[in-house]
């Protein structure tokens, strides 16, 4: 174990036959451990930019990523570390962007939660919420026009994103085109500090599915097995040609909006309710109950080693150099404005 480098560790799940529970559990653990590490590095002042965690959302997010296949399109949002890892994004990509390595996928040009890799099928998000839904729809339209069959796109949103015009336009357009797009809404109770009651007036966001003419699926997203089952079914329906699917997972964000935020505004009653359960604890209890507690511990240790190795490796990597940077935002020769400088 100790001799393995992070490069070989980056996809420890890829080569083995794993049951869905193991895939889910490992992705959740890897996400939690890498994010715990990032949070501690943030407090130590070693992170470039902000840190936004998916604590409490790992099961729902991972269930999305692991139901996708190679060739599918994934548009994760800021709390989808687990989904990214489950889909196959290397842990190194995350660590490199957070620590500002120039070997990361964004090369220092954009950070952290915005990272993506178009070759892998991960669309790099922009900060404007809802914007990635139509982009995922466009990628799916392109695949359909080229005759690629059975592809699915999965775009992630939160309860806050559902209030944007982009969300509405994107989902409506996908519905009109009957695209195989699954929109996962992690309804975590708060958009930054704004509670659901100030975000929308319907009882449940799931009600909107009917209005868009898409199939809707609601679930308690603190329940890992429900996540596997319901998200899996939605992805399957999209793959079969049933058009867009809206999945609304109810859960609670078990951290601040970012690590700069103490989240004192979160209602104590909600924290103590079923919605405030930690999906990782639920999963661990489930594993213990099924006599797989030993496996769970092994997965945790493997994940911890993977994260430590990645951080050790990336800590030695070069940072971006403004003198070596190619300061051009266009491909076409001559398209960059060269304003005379002294």
């Amino acid at each position: 174990m100790a001799t393995k480098t992070a490069e070989t560790l980056e996809r420890p799940t890829a080569s083995k036959k794993q049951d869905p529970t193991e895939k889910l559990g490992r992705s959740m653990l890897r996400a939690r451990l890498v994010e715990d590490k990032l949070a501690s590095l943030y407090r130590a002042g070693r992170i470039v930019g902000g840190v936004y965690l998916g604590r409490g959302q790992e099961a729902f997010s991972a269930a999305g990523g692991l139901n996708l296949r190679k060739g599918d399109v994934y548009a994760p949002l800021i709390r989808d570390m687990a989904g990214r890892l489950a889909f196959g994004e290397p842990v190194l990509d995350a660590v490199r962007t957070y620590l500002g390595s120039r070997l990361g996928p964004m090369r220092g040009r954009d950070g952290n939660i915005h990272r993506g890799d178009v070759k892998l099928g991960i669309l790099p998000m922009i900060s404007h919420l809802g914007a990635m839904i139509s982009a995922a729809a466009g990628a799916l339209l392109a695949k359909r026009m080229r005759g690629e069959r059975q592809r699915v796109g999965l775009a992630c949103a939160g309860d806050g994103a559902t209030s944007t015009g982009s969300f509405h336009e994107g989902l409506n357009l996908a519905a009109v085109e009957k695209l195989p797009l699954v929109v996962l809404v992690a309804d975590n109770g708060y958009a930054y500090s704004t509670p659901n009651a100030r975000q929308f007036a319907c009882t449940d966001l799931l009600e909107r599915a009917r209005g868009y003419g898409v199939e809707g699926h609601g679930l308690d997203a603190t329940d890992p097995e429900a996540c596997l089952e319901v998200v899996g079914r939605a992805v399957q329906r999209a793959r079969e040609g049933a058009g867009p699917q809206l999945v609304v997972g109810r859960l609670l964000r078990l951290c601040g909006h970012g690590e700069h935020d103490d989240a004192l505004y979160v209602d104590a009653q909600v924290k103590g309710s079923n919605r405030g359960r930690d999906c990782l604890q639920v999963m661990e209890e489930l594993m213990n109950k099924r006599g797989r507690g030993k496996e769970w511990k092994e997965w945790r240790e493997e994940a911890r080693a993977e994260v430590e190795a990645a951080v050790t490796q990336v800590s030695k990597e070069p940072v971006p150099d403004p003198f070596e940077e190619q300061w051009r935002a266009t491909v076409t020769p001559g398209a960059v404005e060269e304003v005379a400088e002294e």
Binding site: A131, A137, T330, V331, A335
Partner: protein, 321 residues
């Protein structure tokens, strides 16, 4: 036989669709109906499944193009009017324009904007948007003034690996005609000397080129030879051609149909003043629309935008300094 500016745009799209299977058109009413201005007439029949009607969702239309472009397609998005592209600005400025720099993956797409004023069109169907798009890095912004350029520059735009904003002028759609479609074109991003002259340089783009040419004609009687430079592309600016012209004439008037604060005309003056200060015999001057929303009534509209008469007056001022 003659070809209009609009027919040239349709012909360019038709050629792009025939030449490249990755090209597709997306926009409101562009399928069977052929588009609000008929820029895609008959194309959906000729290219089934590749000329696609969109919902009225400018944000999602541009977002869809970004996603398709990243998958290797070449989407050409028609905004029904340039003015409505404000609804899709976020996707164009923050998504399409940033993608190559952020990821290294090109985002080749074209946003067609039926632009500029026509009589009776009012505040929301008359705007020229090139200033806003040009300010953001990562985009190319084209403003063709002739039938030939409408054709060859649109093909050039579709062939580019960058997101291109293609500002077509509605006033030129039906009335501007050429004998035939061009066989060859000027190099990309090169400005054109639309009329050579020795006394003053008048820089314009899009429909204003024709107003500038009319003003130049008017000044012939007064013994002045006006050189008219057609920018063709406002981003990037062809500073070399601009400085070359001012080197010959020593005087500069820049005309833009958009509003006076900032913009292509201000950029031209800034470049010439900074890089060619010693070439100037008179202070450079700008002429733009008035700083109000674009009026509806033709009487007001005609006074709102620069016209040949106003341009001629501006040129006299620069010439007599």
């Amino acid at each position: 036989m003659s070809v209009t500016y609009l027919e040239a745009i349709r012909a360019a799209q038709e050629k792009a669709l025939s030449d490249d299977p990755n090209v597709f058109l997306y926009g409101q009413d562009i399928g069977r109906f052929g588009g609000a201005f008929k820029a895609t007439k008959n194309l959906s029949e000729k290219f089934p499944g590749r000329v696609i009607d969109s919902p009225i969702s400018e944000d999602a239309m541009v977002g869809l193009a970004v996603g398709a472009a990243l998958e290797g397609m070449k989407p050409v998005v028609e905004m029904q009017f340039a003015d409505f592209s404000t609804v899709g600005l976020n996707q164009m400025l923050n998504h399409a324009a940033t993608t190559y720099w952020r990821t290294g993956k090109p985002c080749p797409m074209v946003l067609r904007l039926p632009s500029g004023g026509t009589p009776g069109s009012g505040p929301f169907h008359s705007q020229s948007m090139e200033t806003i798009y040009s300010h953001y890095p990562g985009l190319v912004v084209m403003t063709p003034a002739t039938v030939e350029d409408a054709y060859s520059m649109l093909l050039e735009a579709i062939g580019m690996q960058d997101p291109v904003v293609f500002c077509e002028h509605k006033l030129l759609y039906y009335h501007l005609k050429a004998g035939a479609l061009p066989g060859e074109a000027l190099p990309a991003f090169r400005a054109r000397i639309a009329r050579p002259g020795r006394d003053v340089t008048c820089v314009a783009y899009s429909a204003m080129v024709h107003e500038a040419l009319a003003a130049a004609e008017e000044l012939v009687e007064e013994g002045y030879e006006v050189e008219v430079v057609d920018l063709r592309t406002v981003k990037p600016l062809d500073t070399d051609t601009l400085l070359g012209s001012v080197a010959r004439t020593g005087r500069l008037l820049v005309v833009g149909e958009s509003w006076p604060w900032g913009g292509a005309s201000a950029e031209v003056v800034a470049r010439v003043a900074a890089e060619g200060f010693e070439l100037l015999d008179a202070p450079p001057k700008r002429l733009n629309a008035k700083d109000t929303p674009i009026p509806y009534h033709p009487n007001l509209w005609a006074a709102h935008r620069p016209t040949a008469v106003r341009i001629a007056a501006g040129l006299r001022e620069v010439l007599r300094y």
